[in-house]
C-alpha cells in the first residue's frame, strides 16, 4: 500500500469537485457536438421513419440494439465493483465505487433511451405499460431495467450523503449549493444516521447482485428465446454476464486512468489499484474467453445446416475481420498484456481498457446482426440492400450521440460531485492510522 498519510483537510481539498480546465471544456464541447448531431439525426428518423437507417426486413435489428446490449453490459460494473467487491470485504476498491456507480447509472439511462430510439412507433411507448404481456421477454427486460435503475440511483445516492455535508461546509445557499442542500442538507453525520446508512448500503449491495445478474440474463433472452442460429443457445445468460463484467472492468480501467490524470488523484487511485484491477480484468477476460470458446467451438464441430452459413460469415466471411479483431484485440491481446506486472501499470491498463471496451462494442454487434442475415429460408426477391447491413450516417450519429451522452453525464457528475467518496476515504485513513 503506497498510500501517504494525509491530513483530513488535504483529503477534502484534493477530492472536492473542481471546475473544468481548458481540456475539460474541449472535451465537453466535443461531446455536446456529438449529442446534437445525434439529436438532429433522430429528428430525421422521427420524420421519415426507420427507413433512414440501413435496417431492413432481414437485418431488422442493427446497431441500436447492439448499442443497447453494450450499455446494459457496461452498467453491470456498478454491481461488480460496488457490491461484489464490497461484500467480499475488499477495501481497496472504495475509491472506485462512485466511478463504477455513475458509469452504471449513466449506461442504464442511455440503454433505455436507445431502446426507445429503436422503436418504430415511440409515440406508442405507453402501450408497454397499458397492454404489457407478462409472457414477453421484452416486458421482463423493461421491468428489470427500471428496477436496476432505481437500485443504482439509490446505491449512488446513499453513499453520497456524507459527502454532501462536506460539500456544503460553510457555503452559502446559492447556485449549485442549492442543489447540494436539497440533496443532502439533512445529513448531519450522527451516529444513528451512519448506522442506518450502513444498513441501507448493505441491503443494497446484497440486492443489486441478483438484479444485475437478471438484467443481463433477461437481455440475453431477447435473443436466446428465438430459433435462429447463433442465438439458439442455452449458454447465453452466463455468456452475456461474463462479457458484461469484462466490459465493465475495462470501462472502469479507462475511467480510473482519466480521472486520476485529470484531477491529479495519484494519492487515491494508486498504482496498486491498477495492479489489482488488472488482475481482476485478466480473470474476467479468461472467463469470457472460456464462454466464447464454448459458444463457437461446439456448433462449429457439428456444423448444423442453419449454422453453416452463419459460422462461415463470422470465421471467414463478411464479418471475419470484425470477429477476429474483437477476439484478439478485445480479449486475447489485452489479457496477455495484463498478465505481466508491467502491463498492469496505469498507461497500459488504460490502453487495454479502451481495447476491451471497443472490442466489447463490436462483439455485441457480432451477436446481433450476423444471425439475422442468415435466415432459415433463402433471401429472394428482395432489393439488394436487404441482404447487407452497414449502418447509415443517421445510425452512427445516434449511436455515437448516445455514447457521447453517457460520457457527458459522467463528466458532469464528476464536475459537481466528488468522484471519490471523501468521507469514506477519511474514515479509512483513520482506520489505517489507528492500526
Amino acid at each position: 500500500m503506497e498510500k501517504i498519510s494525509l491530513t483530513d483537510e488535504q483529503v477534502v481539498s484534493d477530492l472536492l469537485p473542481k471546475k473544468f480546465g481548458k481540456l475539460g471544456m474541449v472535451w465537453v464541447a466535443i461531446l455536446i457536438v456529438f449529442c446534437l448531431v445525434g439529436f438532429f439525426a433522430y429528428c430525421r428518423q422521427l420524420k421519415y421513419g426507420l427507413i433512414v437507417t440501413s435496417m431492413r426486413d432481414y437485418a431488422s435489428w442493427g446497431i441500436y440494439i447492439s448499442n443497447f446490449v453494450f450499455f446494459v453490459a457496461i452498467s453491470l460494473v456498478g454491481s461488480l465493483i460496488t457490491a461484489v467487491l464490497r461484500l467480499s470485504g475488499v477495501h481497496w476498491s472504495t475509491p472506485l465505487t462512485r466511478i463504477a456507480e455513475i458509469i452504471a447509472v449513466s449506461a442504464i439511462t442511455f440503454a433505455s433511451l436507445i431502446i426507445i430510439v429503436d422503436m418504430g412507433r415511440p409515440d406508442r411507448f405507453y402501450n408497454l405499460f397499458l397492454y404489457g404481456r407478462l409472457q414477453s421477454p421484452i416486458i421482463w427486460d423493461v421491468t428489470v431495467i427500471i428496477t436496476y435503475f432505481f437500485i443504482s440511483i439509490l446505491l449512488l445516492y446513499i453513499p453520497l450523503l456524507p459527502d454532501m455535508k462536506i460539500l456544503l461546509a460553510g457555503k452559502e445557499k446559492k447556485g449549485i449549493y442549492k442543489l447540494y442542500s436539497f440533496l443532502g442538507s439533512f445529513w448531519k453525520g450522527t451516529h444513528l444516521q451512519f448506522r442506518i446508512s450502513k444498513r441501507a448500503i448493505n441491503i443494497l449491495c446484497i440486492a443489486i447482485v441478483p438484479i444485475a445478474f437478471s438484467i443481463h440474463t433477461v437481455t440475453s433472452w431477447l435473443f436466446a428465446t428465438t430459433y435462429r442460429p447463433g442465438w439458439d443457445s442455452t449458454n447465453f445468460g452466463a455468456y452475456f454476464i461474463a462479457g458484461a463484467f469484462l466490459a465493465g472492468a475495462g470501462a472502469v480501467n479507462v475511467a480510473m486512468y482519466v480521472f486520476r490524470k485529470y484531477y491529479k488523484l495519484e494519492n487515491y487511485i494508486t498504482n496498486d489499484h491498477f495492479d489489482k484491477m488488472g488482475k481482476i480484468t485478466v480473470m474476467l477476460g479468461m472467463l469470457y474467453l472460456y464462454f466464447n470458446v464454448n459458444e463457437y467451438l461446439t456448433p462449429y464441430f457439428k456444423m448444423k445446416k442453419p449454422e453453416v452459413a452463419f459460422l462461415n460469415s463470422l470465421f471467414v466471411g463478411q464479418f471475419s475481420v470484425i470477429f477476429w479483431s474483437a477476439i484478439f484485440g478485445g480479449m486475447i491481446i489485452p489479457m496477455i498484456i495484463l498478465l505481466f506486472k508491467r502491463g498492469r501499470r496505469p498507461l497500459p491498463m488504460f490502453i487495454c481498457g479502451i481495447m476491451i471496451v471497443v472490442g466489447a462494442w463490436f462483439k455485441r454487434f457480432l451477436i446481433v446482426t450476423p444471425t439475422l442475415l442468415q435466415p432459415f429460408l433463402p433471401m429472394h426477391n428482395v432489393p439488394e440492400s436487404y441482404k447487407h447491413y452497414f449502418p447509415s450516417w443517421e445510425e452512427w450519429s445516434i449511436a455515437l450521440g448516445s455514447l457521447a451522452g453517457a460520457l457527458l453525464v459522467i463528466t458532469f457528475f464528476a464536475r459537481f460531485f466528488p468522484i471519490i467518496p471523501i468521507q469514506e476515504t477519511i474514515i479509512e485513513q483513520h482506520e489505517k492510522q489507528n492500526h
Binding site: R133, F186, Q193, I196, I203
Partner: protein, 299 residues
C-alpha cells in the same frame, strides 16, 4: 402559286395532326373485356355476375370503377331493352345485380332471355356490348335413406317443365369456398329423363352440430342455362363438437391468460425486490427526519 403551296401545306399539316391525335387516342385505350354470367340458387333466387378486365402490357388486369348497364333482352338492333340496373365494378372488376320485380311482365313473356351488358365509351376504354342467352331451367333433388342422390334437370318449354338430356350436373357437399364431390365421379350427364344418380361415399365427413351436411347439385357454366345450384340439408355427416378449450393459459395467449407458474414467479420476485426498495426509501426518509431533528436540536 405561293398561296397554293401554302394552302396545300396547311391542309397536309392539319391532316397529319388529326391523324396523329387519333393514333394517340387509340394508343392510350386498352381493350376492355366484359364477361357476363347468370346464376340461380335453389330454383328461386337469381342474379347476374359481370366481370370487367383489360389487357395492359400483355397481362390481364381487373378494371375497377367501370359502369356497366345490364338489360333483360336484346332488340333487333342489338341494343339492350328492359334495364335491370347499372352497376360499377369493384377492385377485382366484379359487379352483380338482381332482377327487379318491375321486370316481371317482360320476364314472363318468354322462357328464353338474352342478358346484355353494355359499357359506354370512356377515356380509358371503348364501348363494349356483351350478351348471353339463357333459358329458364330447374334442378330438383331427391335422396334415399341409403344415401343415393337423384337430381333431375328440367327446362321451361311450352309453359311446362320438361326434362333435358345431356346436361352436366355435379353432386357435392357444400364446404367453405367450394363443393366437395360426394364420390369419385367428376360429374354426371342427364339421361333421357333428365336424371342423374350418384351415391354419397364420403362417410365420416364432419357436419354441423346436428350432423347435417348441405348436399349440392349444380350445373356450371352451361351455354344454354347458365349456372344453377340447389342446396339441400341431409343428416349424413358426423356431429361436430366445438372445441371450447381455446382460451386456456399459454405462453402465446393474451396478457390475461399468462401461465400460472409465470404469474406466480414474476409477481413474487417483483414484490420481494420492490418491497426491499420501498424499505430502503423508508430508511432514507428516516435519515432525513433524524437530520431535521438534529437541526432543530442544534438551533
Amino acid at each position: 402559286m405561293k398561296s397554293k403551296i401554302i394552302n396545300i401545306s396547311i391542309w397536309v399539316f392539319l391532316i397529319l395532326v388529326a391523324g396523329l391525335s387519333v393514333k394517340g387516342q387509340d394508343a392510350e385505350k386498352s381493350p376492355l373485356i366484359v364477361t357476363l354470367s347468370y346464376f340461380t340458387v335453389n330454383n328461386d333466387y337469381q342474379y347476374l355476375k359481370v366481370n370487367a378486365k383489360s389487357k395492359v402490357e400483355g397481362k390481364f388486369q381487373p378494371a375497377a370503377g367501370v359502369e356497366i348497364q345490364l338489360y333483360l333482352n336484346k332488340d333487333s338492333t342489338g341494343k339492350g331493352v328492359g334495364l335491370i340496373g347499372k352497376v360499377i365494378t369493384n377492385e377485382k372488376g366484379n359487379a352483380a345485380a338482381n332482377i327487379p320485380p318491375a321486370l316481371k311482365q317482360t320476364w314472363d313473356l318468354s322462357p328464353n332471355h338474352t342478358f346484355v351488358a353494355v359499357t359506354d365509351k370512356s377515356k380509358k376504354f371503348d364501348e363494349t356490348n356483351t350478351d348471353i342467352s339463357i333459358a329458364k331451367a330447374k334442378i330438383t333433388v331427391d335422396t334415399t335413406d341409403d344415401k343415393n342422390v337423384t337430381a333431375t334437370f328440367t327446362e321451361f318449354k311450352d309453359n311446362k317443365w320438361v326434362p333435358v338430356k345431356g346436361v352436366d350436373i355435379k353432386l357435392g357437399i357444400k364446404r367453405l369456398g367450394g363443393d366437395l364431390l360426394i364420390n369419385d365421379d367428376q360429374s354426371y350427364t342427364t339421361d333421357s329423363l333428365g336424371k342423374v344418380k350418384g351415391e354419397f361415399k364420403k362417410i365420416g365427413m364432419p357436419g354441423d352440430e346436428h350432423g347435417n351436411i348441405m348436399l349440392v347439385a349444380k350445373v356450371e357454366d352451361n351455354d344454354q342455362y347458365g349456372n344453377l345450384r340447389v342446396e339441400r340439408s341431409e343428416p349424413w355427416g358426423v356431429k361436430f363438437v366445438a372445441d371450447n378449450d381455446f382460451f386456456h393459459r399459454a405462453l402465446w395467449a393474451s396478457r390475461f391468460n399468462s401461465p400460472v407458474w409465470l404469474v406466480v414467479i414474476a409477481y413474487s420476485i417483483l414484490i420481494a425486490v420492490w418491497g426491499t426498495l420501498i424499505y430502503l426509501v423508508f430508511l432514507l426518509i428516516k435519515i432525513r427526519t433524524l437530520g431535521k431533528q438534529e437541526e432543530k436540536n442544534q438551533a
